[in-house]
């Protein structure tokens, strides 16, 4: 599944990014790889959706970006999770679980 417009799945993209960054700070490319990894290939985030999301979360104060060097000694912008971001991760996780539970129940009901 390709995350295209991000309208419908914005709710899921944010927690994915936060989760990916929970482990360590990364740059854009790595984040999208990581998300692909942890969702076992279900979500492939295109740069066109990833970068706007990153900037949005930066504005909200959940990330703090900084310039650094990548593995190949190239310049890249690294995003680090802030304390607020960590809190948000917990909130998002909660929300997603509740919603998916509710949807599952609704679909199972006869």
């Amino acid at each position: 599944m390709t995350v295209g417009q991000a309208n419908l799945l914005q709710g899921t993209l944010d927690p994915m990014i936060l989760k990916a960054l929970a482990v360590q700070q990364m740059h854009g490319l790595r984040i999208s790889h990581r998300i692909e990894q942890i969702t076992k290939g279900t979500l492939q985030v295109k740069p066109g959706s990833l970068f706007p999301a990153l900037h949005r979360m930066d504005e909200s104060g959940w990330l703090s970006p900084s310039w650094g060097e990548s593995e190949n000694n190239r310049r890249a912008k690294y995003c680090k999770l802030t304390k607020a971001g960590q809190r948000q991760l917990g909130v998002e996780t909660d929300r997603c679980c509740r919603i998916s539970l509710a949807i599952a129940r609704a679909l199972e009901a006869s």
Binding site: F51, G61, R74, K77
Partner: protein, 913 residues
């Protein structure tokens, strides 16, 4: 928290625009590099890796766009972009921009100026405490009610139903004051007219007002300096005090504080200035604006030296009507209640005051009015021209908006292709519409800002215009912000609507036909063109009535100015001397006047000098009963000095005029005019006949001459029978005299000489009311002059706007059809045919507009019939001239684009894209 961060990054983005943008660029590009590296690791070569990476990324610019779109305040960026682009577009078309902005600005500015004025005059309240609880007191009566009238009360005899007046006998003032339950207080006032002053040895003249003790208290005013008149001052035995107006104290004493405590000699009586009125106060009549307020009970002392003096008996006389009154209602009492309670009291009083003389004549009844705005005089004088003005301005605004609408529609049509192209390369429809909207708003904003300036200047200009040279015009119109906002909103709406309509249209249609248009604006929809035609036609139709009105007013003015007066008004200087008020009396008074006359004749450059009791035009006329040929008739008369007819250049038909040989000791003589002779001595030779004045002096006069008829009192009224007699022969009391000096050149150059001469004869005698006869006559026509000037100005404005609109429409039409014209010419059409086709269209528009306008005018001019004189509302010459003007101007407006059509080079036109 998140809001704060958003705002912070928003601010950062604005302040460090370039850095933020570079940063983003770096970020995306660095990611691209990383992706390239990754691909290379996987085994692609450099070029393939690069290409693959770019595809994966989706394009650097696109990603950047998407990031930008996701940020807060993206609207601000787009707005800035829109505004910048809009400004660029406006700059590229200076003609269009100028016309639209100017049109809007004129519409907004002029409209606001007029309405501010209207507001000031019609709605402005007196600058006193709680004006809404003030009431004016008047009485109405049927014709036939007789009363003695003194002072300058307001009497309106022109109503067919009877007399309306606001002057009362003093005992009625006492009566009304007893009504404590209705009024918290009542005050009375009376104009003191011109007072002769001596301030620090300098003689001068000022307008005065006698006010009762409660005047200032009722109005709730605080003094500007010192104190105001109180009831204790308003006693016969009190020391005379005065209160000055703010402006007067500034002019004569250099400041209100400096005036308090000063002693001034008024009409020969020393008076102490106890205070100054507050700055904005002008009395209760905006037209009066007195300089000095004096206690009412001191009037006998102050008028003792006048020929018409207010005596102590006046305060008791039940038949002398001379004081005006106003009152303040008690809280909770309405006007209707007060009227119902007071009217019977007044009626009863009037009945008991009947004397045998006026028994049987109709009784007056009391009418109370709203006093918040003071007296009606100024309002009546100016409300008519202002209503006319309002109509004119409304029409102009309509024309202006139609113009703007037409131009915007035309622009929209021309830019359809551009819009289609934009949509094709990816702008959303909303974006394009927003862009066009921004342009319209920019235009409207510029128009609005310029409109504010026009409004401010307009108010100042109008004040100048309506003051018409009067020195103490009391109307200071303030800019009415509500009207400004309303006019601005209207223009904004017009701009938006007519800018938006084509935008919505052009973005809704299929883009392909629009792109296929080979020339800009070559649309096949006829609807919009029809609308533009309607706009142009309506503009012309609206202009025609204005031109007609202007023409009629100008003709009226011309008629008035060329009226046969019966005397020569050129190079005649007029001024008034009131030697009686300066202390001279009886024989010595007449000697002084005579002496001065001879001194004036000695001034080099003065041809002839004479004097009379009042000027011939602009000061009303004197009338009384005379006994002639056994009948008592009422006739007009004028008391004159020697050489009157020679100086005024009134021809004598028979006998002689009044001259030096008519002394106080010789036989009293009279000169009559032709009408009088015809009416009373028809057939016989009037010379040698006698007539007797039936006043107190009861003199019998012998007719020694007959003069030609002149206008007397008013330019518009036809001449009437008049008797002239010598002022020094005791026929009528001598008071102030108006001198007429015929000069060799510009009369105003002699004023200083005159003043010097008078000062040498008597330093206490001020020279009042200096003016030229020509100027005085113009003053009587001030309203007609105003109308003519205003209407002409507006008509020209309307014509300009309409012709610009016509030119614009024709111009865009040609631009639209250049390709078609080129093809036609290439196929062999004659240039003459092309011009004829183009012109034909324009002429059709102009003609349609003219016809519609003509029909409208013939009906509408009836509305201004009351303002015309000597000309009918459907005067054929005026209308012919107006139609000619419109046709010529319309033709000229069409001619320029037509010439452009004629000069089209087919090769250029066909390649034009």
């Amino acid at each position: 928290m998140s809001l704060f961060s958003s705002l912070r990054s928003f601010a950062r983005r604005i302040i460090h625009r370039q850095e933020v943008d570079n940063d983003l660029d770096d970020e995306i590009r660095s990611q691209l590099e990383l992706m390239v590296d990754q691909k290379i690791e996987k085994g692609m070569n450099r070029d393939e890796a690069r290409r693959a990476a770019k595809i994966d990324l989706g394009g650097v610019e696109q990603v950047k766009e998407q990031v930008r779109a996701a940020r807060t305040g993206v609207w601000f960026d787009t707005l800035l972009q829109d505004v910048r682009f809009g400004l660029r577009m406006l700059r590229k078309n200076p003609g269009f921009t100028t016309v639209v902005v100017l049109t809007l600005a004129l519409g907004i500015g002029v409209n606001t100026a007029i309405f501010s004025f209207m507001d000031s005059i019609l709605v402005r309240q007196l600058p006193v405490r709680d004006p809404s609880s003030l009431v004016t007191l008047n009485w109405h009566s049927q014709l036939g009610f007789t009363f003695s009238m003194h002072c300058d009360g307001c009497t309106d005899n022109s109503t067919k139903s009877g007399i309306v007046a606001d002057i009362f006998p003093y005992p009625v003032f006492d009566l009304f004051r007893k009504n404590d339950s209705l009024f918290s207080s009542v005050f009375a006032y009376c104009s003191a007219r011109n007072l002769s002053l001596i301030i620090r040895g300098r003689a001068g003249v000022a307008k005065g007002e006698y006010v009762s003790g409660d005047y200032f208290r009722t109005l709730g005013l605080a003094p500007g300096a010192g104190r105001l008149i109180i009831p204790d001052d308003d006693q016969i035995s009190a020391a005379p005090v005065a209160v000055l107006s703010w402006g007067f104290s500034q002019g004569y004493f250099g400041g209100p504080q400096k005036a308090v405590g000063q002693s001034v000699v008024i009409n020969g009586i020393p008076v102490v200035v106890v205070g100054v009125a507050p700055p904005e106060f002008f009395g209760v009549d905006p037209a009066a604006n007195p300089d000095i307020y004096l206690p009412l009970k001191k009037a006998p002392v102050l008028t003792a030296a006048s020929s018409v003096s207010i005596t102590g008996a006046w305060y008791l006389d039940q038949n002398s009507y001379w004081v005006q009154m106003m009152a303040r209602l008690r809280p909770g009492v309405t006007l209707a209640q007060a009227q119902a309670a007071l009217a019977p009291q007044f009626h009863q009083w009037e009945q008991s005051a009947r004397t045998t003389r006026n028994a049987g004549t109709p009784l007056p009844f009391l009418v109370m009015g709203d006093g918040a705005r003071g007296l009606e005089v100024l309002r009546d004088e100016y409300s008519k021209p202002l209503y006319v003005l309002m109509t004119l301005v409304a029409i102009i605004l309509a024309i202006a908006c139609a113009n703007v609408a037409g131009l915007l529609l035309a622009r929209g049509a021309v830019r359809r292709r551009e819009m289609a192209l934009r949509i094709c390369v990816g702008a959303g429809r909303g974006r394009v519409v927003r862009q066009l909207l921004t342009e319209s708003v920019l235009l409207a904003s510029f128009g609005g800002i310029l409109g504010v300036f026009f409004a401010v200047w307009g108010v100042r200009f109008l004040t100048l215009l309506l003051a018409n040279g009067r020195a103490n015009f009391t109307l200071h119109a303030k800019l009415n912000w509500q009207v400004l906002a309303a006019a601005a909103a209207l223009s904004l709406l017009t701009g938006i609507f007519f800018g938006l309509a084509p935008a919505l249209q052009s973005t809704r249609v299929d883009v392909m036909p629009a792109l296929k248009e080979v020339r800009a604006g070559q649309s096949r929809t006829r609807g919009r063109m029809g609308l533009r035609q309607i706009l142009v036609v309506s503009q012309i139709a609206l202009t025609l009535p204005m031109l007609a009105a202007a023409g009629l007013f100008v003709r009226t003015l011309s008629n008035l100015q060329h009226v046969e007066l019966g005397f020569n008004r050129e190079n005649l200087l007029l001024f008034t001397l009131n030697a009686r008020q300066a202390g001279h009396q009886n024989a010595e008074l007449i000697d002084l006047y005579n002496n001065l006359r001879q001194r004036f004749s000695a001034i080099p450059g003065v041809r002839r000098v004479t004097l009379s009791a009042s000027a011939l035009i602009g000061e009303g006329w004197w009338g009384t009963n005379v006994l002639v040929s056994g009948k008592t008739i009422n006739t007009r008369f004028l008391s004159v000095g020697p050489d009157y007819f020679g100086t005024m250049q009134v021809p004598l038909v028979l006998g002689r005029g009044i001259d030096e040989r008519d002394q106080s000791t010789s036989t009293p003589v009279a000169v009559i005019n032709e009408l009088f002779a015809k009416a009373n001595f028809d057939g016989e030779n009037p010379i040698g006949q006698h007539l007797t004045f039936l006043n107190k002096a009861h003199r019998e006069l012998e007719v020694v001459g007959v003069s030609k008829d002149t206008r007397y009192g008013d330019v518009k009224r036809a001449p009437a029978p008049v008797v002239y007699f010598a002022y020094n022969q005791g026929v009528w009391p001598v008071d102030d005299m108006t001198y007429a000096v015929r000069t060799a050149s510009d009369p105003l150059a002699y004023v200083n000489n005159i003043r010097e001469t008078v000062h040498q004869a008597d330093p206490r005698l001020p020279v009042q009311n200096v003016r030229t006869q020509a100027a005085q006559i113009d003053q009587t026509m001030s309203q007609e002059i105003t109308f003519a000037k205003l209407c002409t100005a507006f008509a020209i404005l309307a014509l300009t706007i309409a012709s610009v609109g016509l030119y614009g429409t024709m111009s865009y039409d040609i631009t639209r059809r250049i390709g078609e014209i080129g093809i036609r010419i290439a196929l062999g059409a004659q240039r003459g045919d092309i011009v004829r086709t183009v012109l034909g269209k324009g002429v059709a528009l102009v003609t349609t507009g003219t016809v519609i306008g003509l029909c409208a005018s013939l009906g509408l001019t009836r509305l201004v019939a009351s303002q015309l004189w000597g000309i009918s509302t459907t005067d054929p010459r005026t209308f012919a001239a107006v139609i000619a003007v419109i046709l010529v101007v319309g033709l000229a407006a069409c001619l320029v684009p037509a010439r452009r059509a004629m000069k089209v080079d087919p090769m250029v036109a066909l390649r034009h894209e």
